[in-house]
Subunit: 204 residues, 4 copies
């Protein structure tokens, strides 16, 4: 999302990285306190003590700033966690994701996913830098589970992940408030249990 600077070096004054950070911070701060809707370049510039041009030189619109700020530290904030079993890895990682969703950054992610429905570039960035970055790792959890005989051999990893994470995104974006709609660890555990065991009544 950041403008790549391919240019013969040494020409002109270099971009000030401090300024870049200030802008990112200002955008997040303003967004979190007064809502990401109505977040304007003008306000961010003022709050960061920066000219508008300085912002436009780096990003094309407000959402790019926010996306930049969020996607920069995906890995740190909602990490994936491998354990000895596939079920363990998935459950642990889902709990961490749910925790992230519940926190203040969850609000930002919601706004970002929301805006992405109407902004192709952001949509692409989100899928590539957020979704697929995580899924590529998660798929391996599933594959290893299958290989080790833990999981059914005929499973499609992506469908498995959809069945587990889909509900999480659903609760993030459309929480219908029904007892466990708060993305609690209990909800995650119940969900994992349900999906792993299946819906059908066993035996006889």
């Amino acid at each position: 999302m950041k403008k790549v600077n391919v240019r013969k070096p040494g020409a002109g004054r270099p971009r000030d990285e401090d300024v870049t950070r200030q802008i990112r911070a200002a955008a997040m701060e303003l967004g979190l306190e007064s809502g990401f809707d109505g977040l304007s370049i003008e306000a961010v510039a003022a709050h960061a003590g920066v000219g508008k041009t300085t912002i436009y030189r780096r990003w094309r619109n407000v959402w790019s700033i926010v996306a930049d700020a969020v996607l920069d530290d995906v890995a740190k904030l909602a990490p994936l966690q491998e354990q000895s079993t596939a079920r363990g890895s998935l459950a642990a990682s889902m709990r961490l994701a749910a925790r992230y969703f519940r926190g203040p950054r969850g609000k930002v992610l919601r706004a970002l996913i929301g805006r992405a429905q109407v902004d192709r570039t952001l949509h692409k960035a989100l899928i590539e830098q957020w979704l697929l970055a995580r899924r590529n790792v998660t798929r391996e959890f599933v594959r290893r589970g299958i290989a080790k005989g833990e999981l059914r051999p005929d499973l499609d990893p992506d469908i498995v992940i959809d069945a587990l994470y889909g509900p999480l995104y659903h609760q993030l974006l459309l929480p219908y408030d029904s007892g466990h709609g708060d993305l609690s660890d209990a909800y995650v555990d119940a969900l994992v249990e349900t999906v792993f065991a299946g819906l059908e009544r066993k035996g006889e």
Copy 2:
């Protein structure tokens, strides 16, 4: 979402329902052809050949018009379908939902859910008039499945529905384009199969 009209009736010229329909239509048309982002009251008014006041008299903002247009015909366009088994009912209804998501209205729903992340009123309307309206019926499918011994007796209906529909919304909003990311009937069927059977390898 529509402004309630508390007034002694018969006084003054009545609202023209044709005008209301024209505005709704104009909003949808403009949104579908040039994107719901950037859809402005001014443009809708011009396209509908109507004064701005006439719109503000009925709705508080553009998104209310769109929500109104969409939520009006939820039941008709993505109906729920009961069959003899819970699995049958759920699978059939999910296929209809997926079809709706794939169609032109899916684009609108995406935009609406997106916008709702940042607009409390819309968020509430969407959950109540769209999500819960459907879920209340769907829950019965699950309950009857349990009652009939078709499904595990310890299931939480909401978690079941999350596990089945969550992936659908996930694919609607963040399609990561991986083979079956197109909300096809095949995807729905694979998903149903996976969730119903569970992930674990059955003992010997």
Copy 3:
């Protein structure tokens, strides 16, 4: 300079003439106190307590406002004065013009003529509404002087007026500060005397 409003009447809210006057006044006030250079639409709007659009709806740029304000009351402020002789009429009118040039409006006129050198529309407006409006009357003074035998019959009225008023504009725009460079009545009188009598030494 004012936008002519040819439109079926009764359509829409009418322009507010008070607002128009406020804007004109604000422009003049700001210009006189802080210089017409650097006079911005934004400042005028702020000072008049008016939105920018409201200004753009009436004029295309700041100079049009000023021209509008000045040219509106040309006739009142630097009137032409007919007397019994051509010389009397010309001298009296020139004194009034000089007085106008000396006053606060002279500063505005200077700025306006200055700007006109670089703005075709303004140039045209100035010549038509200011210069020719006056000259058409002044020419009659000269013609009548010729008819009455007061002035040489072979004179070209325009050259006569140039010889008399040219110096006045010259002193307005490029005052070289040389004793009588202040557009005083004495200067006007000396000028009239010199031009009327001619430069040549009369043959004995």
Copy 4:
């Protein structure tokens, strides 16, 4: 107008006079082809292939560049010409001035005088380097004419010059397009004739 360079010589890299000339030329070229209004330092720098700083090091603003370019060659381009009689000297010099006014440089002079109405520094420069430079010489023409008995002994040289040159500037800045408004030689001759002979009908 040029920044004077009082500095111990040999310290650092010397100013490149070629660069100075390029900038002057670029300013004139851009001004003549796309109007002196809207002439920007940025554009001049780009057109001259020069950094903005390099310009600011020499001049304080665009108009200083233009003034510099014009005033540099006043003497060459609109010279004063002494002849045997005062009338001859004045008429000849006025024709040369009129020719200059008509030419491409006249457009620049107009713009400069225009801008000077709103820019004190430029105003001062113009009066000193252009107007007074010429007038000091012209005054001698008049004085000698008086001394030789050619002209009335009671004349004020400045008023004489105003009466003759005033109309020229008037026609330059506010050409009202009336037959001879084109600063032609014929116009100059008619003007000289009129002013020298005076307006009054002679004797009997």
